[in-house]
């Protein structure tokens, strides 16, 4: 390691190192992106299948980003959408299923960056099961007068989940109604 570090040389070296790193990472991203996206798609299909046992097929409405779940006879048995909440450790991505235009079927966490042992408990079934059959309009943590118990020590994560589900659900329901009227 050279002791010299005068002038502009350190700046140039650091810039070169960062540039090389960027090229390498872009290349890696190019190789892995397709595979990662495919895995995510498969995962969503699987999650939808778990939430809606009678699901035979689903349609994805791209403009309003909503999955319409169909049974074998082609009848609509529910809806699903992705909700993203701002957690303690970044975005919490969830898949939310609806039975009809006001009741939640189930919630599955797709990805999150919460602290293991605290916020990461949002993936545990005792927490997500609380959403089953809940009415969208009444969604709130119990300390705010609702029925959802927060995870102790992880209020931010719990609130992010509840708030984002409620907001996104209300928005999707509105968009769905608008679309049906047209």
């Amino acid at each position: 390691m050279s002791e010299g570090g005068k002038g502009i040389y350190p700046v140039i070296l650091l810039t070169v190192v960062v540039a090389v790193s960027m090229v390498l990472l872009t290349m890696t991203d190019g190789v892995t992106k397709e595979e990662i996206d495919k895995r995510k798609d498969d995962e969503i299909k699987e999650m939808l299948g778990v939430q809606f046992e009678d699901m035979d097929d689903f349609e994805y409405y791209e403009d309003i980003e909503l999955y319409i779940i169909k049974d074998e006879g082609g009848n609509t048995i529910g809806y699903a959408f992705k909700a993203v909440g701002q957690g303690y450790g970044g975005d919490i991505e969830m898949l939310v299923g609806l039975i009809d235009e006001s009741t939640i079927k189930d919630v599955s966490v797709i990805s999150h960056g919460e602290t293991p042992g605290l916020g990461a408990k949002i993936t545990e079934s005792w927490f997500t099961d609380q959403f089953q059959g809940a009415t969208v309009d009444d969604l709130a943590l119990s300390k705010d007068g609702g029925d959802i118990d927060a995870i102790s020590g992880a209020t931010i994560s719990s609130k992010a989940v509840v708030d984002s589900i409620k907001q996104t659900a209300l928005e999707k329901i509105r968009l769905l109604k608008e679309m049906e009227e047209e």
């Binding site: 390691m1 050279s2 002791e3 010299g4 570090g5 040389y9 350190p10 700046v11 070296l13 650091l14 190192v17 960062v18 790193s21 390498l24 990472l25 890696t28 991203d29 190789v31 892995t32 595979e35 990662i36 895995r39 450790g89 960056g113 602290t115 293991p116 042992g117 990461a120």
Partner: protein
């Protein structure tokens, strides 16, 4: 004994990162819940350590002392991001169970420590030997800890879905505390004490 071999063995024994240098304890404690995780984590750390040691040793004469830490961190972060994306794409189940601890390899002090203390001052050959030694030292330590935790905590040993053995009586009365963080501290503390007492791993 060649210099490279000496460096390699030193990494596992007298400068074992976990038991002697007490570095990288956070991932050691957090990821040693099962042998699967321990093996996955060790492989990821080994990859990053090897990559960063080789790169830093190769360009060590060009790095000005003033910006060495930023340069080290960029190099380490690059390798970590590569392995993180690769795991997500090709071994998603492992990526899921290791979770946040893969990106956190960036701040794993073992790797920055080796860059600063070894790779930036030694030849390529020695740096590779050091990476293998320290990597195996870390892997061995985390393997022992996770083995004890998994056996006591679940009463059976299962590696990548393959059943290895069951401890009679323990499988029904498993001590779940050893899977919890508390158990990690107990196991690592007792092992440290044991190794000190036996004198097998004297620090220099």
């Amino acid at each position: 004994m060649g210099n490279g071999l000496k460096t390699f063995i030193k990494g596992i024994t007298t400068s074992n990162p976990v038991f002697i240098l007490l570095l990288g304890l956070c991932p050691t404690l957090a990821v040693s819940t099962s042998v699967d995780n321990a093996i996955g984590m060790s492989a990821a750390v080994m990859f990053v350590l090897l990559g960063s040691n080789i790169t830093i040793s190769l360009i060590r004469k060009a790095i000005p002392g003033m910006v060495r830490i930023p340069v080290f961190i960029v190099i380490i972060a690059t390798f970590v991001t590569i392995i993180h994306l690769m795991l997500q794409a090709f071994v998603p189940s492992l990526s899921k169970s290791l979770g946040i601890f893969v990106p956190l390899i960036v701040v794993n002090c073992i790797i920055l420590g080796r860059a600063e203390a070894f790779a930036s001052q030694n030849s390529l050959k020695d740096s590779i030997a050091d990476a293998f030694g320290i990597g195996l030292g870390f892997g061995g330590a985390i393997f022992i800890i996770s083995f004890i935790r998994q056996v006591l905590g679940t009463g059976e040993m299962e590696v990548f879905g393959m059943h290895v053995f069951t401890v009679p009586g323990l499988e029904t009365n498993n001590m779940a505390i050893f899977i919890l963080p508390m158990g990690a501290f107990m196991v690592i503390g007792l092992l440290l004490g044991l190794f000190r007492h036996m004198g097998v791993m004297e620090s220099e």
